[in-house]
């Protein structure tokens, strides 16, 4: 039961974040790249003021799966590392915290780039002018 409630909370919180961001996209026409940057920097900010940990303790993956979690994790790692080992944490901790996401993305991107070919843009679902693969 406890597990079910936790999953439902993750659904609601994660959904609410996506709901809010979709409104921002529709109202401002920000590009996806900008949205991702704002989310991750926002996550660092939330982590820095201590809000991220509070939300994470009840929402779990509802806040950590959105890219905000990437930033929140960076803030957490920076704090632990600066408080325990001082100056060096400022340089190493942000990259250390981001390592999992970056490493996995690059690894799976390369694997999939080996397997799949870029698909030519199709016009209205029909194959018109199939483009040559290479010249």
């Amino acid at each position: 039961m406890e597990i079910f409630i936790k999953i439902a909370t993750a659904f609601l919180v994660g959904g609410a974040i996506c709901f809010a961001v979709q409104i921002v996209i529709d109202k401002t026409a920000l590009t996806p790249a900008r949205i991702l940057v704002f989310l991750v920097v926002g996550g660092v900010l939330l982590g820095a003021v201590g809000l991220y940990d509070k939300i994470y303790s009840f929402a779990g993956c509802g806040i950590s799966v959105p890219l905000i979690g990437f930033g929140g994790n960076i803030a957490k790692t920076v704090r632990e590392s600066v408080l325990s080992s001082g100056l060096s944490g400022i340089i190493t901790a942000p990259v250390t915290a981001a390592a999992g996401g970056i490493g996995a993305s690059l690894f799976f991107a390369f694997i999939n780039a080996l397997i799949f070919r870029g698909r030519p843009k199709r016009i209205s679902g029909k194959k018109k002018n199939p483009q040559p693969e290479s010249f």
Partner: protein
Amino acid sequence: MYSSKEYAEHVKKTSPRSPVLKNSVKAFFVGGAICALGQALFFIYLNFADEKEAQLFVTVTLIAAAAFLTGLGIFNKIARFAGAGTLVPVTGFANSVVSPAIDNKKEGFILGLGPKIFTVAGPVILYSVLSGALYGIILYAVEVFKKLS
């Protein structure tokens, strides 16, 4: 005569739903579902890993799934429907790395795929690391100040 409550209901029923609301509801359900899936995976992974590792495995699983679906061309179809629902979770980041990697492979592995893989990931990594470092500097300064006073 309508009571104000009935009138509000009537307006709600007859006025067209704005696309903004419709898009946001779609984003809510798809984004929520991805987070719920992550939470379910988290509980599974907790059986053989500690909390920190389980969280990492969730991220890696979602990235791997998003990467494979991007390769199959399915991710774009879901994303067209879900909008922010697939963009905001870590799946959106994965897609932004995989998609240019696949599309620019034919420009060459070193100077095609290599730089293009960072088209979106670059700014995300740069500004997240920068803001993290800035937070570290502030934190360190505060700590030093505390010790002095």
